[in-house]
């Protein structure tokens, strides 16, 4: 038997380095410091970016098996289903092309009217397509990771849409990927406009309602809100361009003890399972007033958290 075969040697008495307790105190304090720096002072961006870049190959490797399983299961979809999906898509395309034709004309008309009234012209939005890499596994927040980052000129605070509505907002930009906080996260607030009445309010994420929901806060119990009302972005925040669909009112609870009623909304975007998304440049260009560049989400968010 070779020397050194026995695994358990007695630990050396003198060169053990710092004791376990002192290591615990050191690393515990370091992680507490990091948490405070991260949550309160936003100082950890370079550390995060460095670790994220170093982790990118490992993450790529981890995504592969799940993606392979998903692609394989899609390969075996029934032919009938594929055909019916294709027929539905064509139908939707036909409907949309009718609307698109009208929109062209309306946009022209709108432009002319705006010129007549000497209003500012609405600019076309620069957009960028991106793919959702994975849902962040953190159960205490609602975020997804997309495959576009600093290298692709993603701006902090850009709104992110999917095909049916506003999905969320870019809250961290790494060199190659970005984090998108979903509209159902508790820390995200969106100024919205009720399309039916024209009343403006603010929708907050409220993930506690069955896992995916939003809430319209501070609406008086006599406010004119009905179930099924469509809420779109109002554009007063200078981040979201106006007119993007956000959510639909799903339930209204009038409460006797409170002057406010509780209004639940369902987001229109796919908050779980969205795959292809669009990143829009924040609409700050044509506004005099803009939020300070340090604050990633809509103004009023910090103080309003419960």
């Amino acid at each position: 038997m070779a020397l050194g075969t026995l695994d358990r040697s007695l630990p050396p008495f003198f060169n053990q380095g710092p004791s376990v307790l002192s290591k615990l105190v050191f690393f515990g304090a370091l992680s507490l410091f990091l948490m405070v720096a991260d949550a309160r002072f936003n100082m950890t961006r370079p550390i995060r970016a460095a670790i994220a870049t170093a982790l990118t190959p490992v993450q790529w490797l981890a995504v592969q098996p799940v993606r392979a399983v998903r692609d394989a299961s899609r390969y075996f979809i029934d032919l009938n289903q594929a055909q019916s999906e294709s027929a539905q898509a064509k139908e939707r395309l036909a409907l949309q092309s009718v609307r698109a034709g009208q929109v062209e004309q309306l946009a022209q008309e709108n432009n002319r009217l705006r010129q007549l009234l000497a209003l500012k012209e609405q600019l076309a939005l620069p957009v960028m397509a991106a793919e959702v890499l994975y849902d962040a596994a953190d159960p205490y927040s609602r975020k997804v990771i997309i495959d576009r980052g600093q290298a692709h000129q993603v701006d902090l605070g850009s709104p992110v849409l999917d095909e049916s509505g506003v999905l969320g907002q870019v809250t961290r930009v790494h060199p190659l990927v970005s984090e998108v906080t979903l509209v159902i996260d508790r820390d995200l607030a969106i100024p919205v406009l009720n399309v039916r009445t024209g009343a403006r309010s603010v929708a907050y994420g409220d993930a506690s309602v069955g896992g995916s929901g939003m809430e319209l806060r501070f609406m008086g119990s006599n406010a004119d809100v009905q179930e099924g009302d469509l809420l779109t972005t109002s554009g007063v925040d200078g981040v979201y361009p106006p007119g993007l669909p956000v959510a639909r009112v799903s339930r209204i609870e009038h409460r006797a003890e409170s002057a406010f009623s509780k209004i639940y909304c369902m987001p229109l975007a796919l908050t779980s399972g969205a795959r292809h998304v669009i990143v829009v440049k924040p609409a700050t260009a044509d506004l005099a007033l803009r939020p300070p560049p340090g604050s990633p989400v809509a103004p009023g968010q910090r103080g309003a958290v419960k």
């Binding site: 038997m1 991260d38 982790l55 490992v58 990771i145």
Partner: protein
Amino acid sequence: MMMRSGQQLLLPASPVFIWTSLVMALLVNMLPLGRVPWMPDFLALVLVFWTVHQPLRVGIGIAFMFGLAMDVHQTSLLGQHAFSYTLLSFLAALIQRRLLWFKVPLQAMQVLPLFAAAHAAEIALRLLGGGIFPGWIVLLAPLGEALLWPLASVLLLAPQLRAPDRDENRPL
């Protein structure tokens, strides 16, 4: 050197194998399976295992580094996993000399409070920081980790249980 009677003498652990197992556990943790609060933390399990079996090689410092990697991957508060893994590694180092005197199922019962403490620290930190409560199902995570302990003991000790001298009758 003292050890449990009837226990096999182990070969020395290879550092390459230790690091490979840690990175594999990180990979398993990173599988994009969505938001599953009850998912056992494989990296925590492997870290505790090596802290108990190889306290001179794997300790609090390594646990802290892997915790930071998990934080960035999960987009959680930077330092949240680092803190819970630091705590876990410290507790594992405390019971390390006692734990190996027990049989594997009893070891699993003794590491359960460790995992529970680490998860409790994580939940407390996040709720203080204003996070969404993930639901009581999160209590299943430490239980799952403790139940995986026997499996980890078999898989991670397998290379050390080989015979020191190969011969034809015992190929492994």
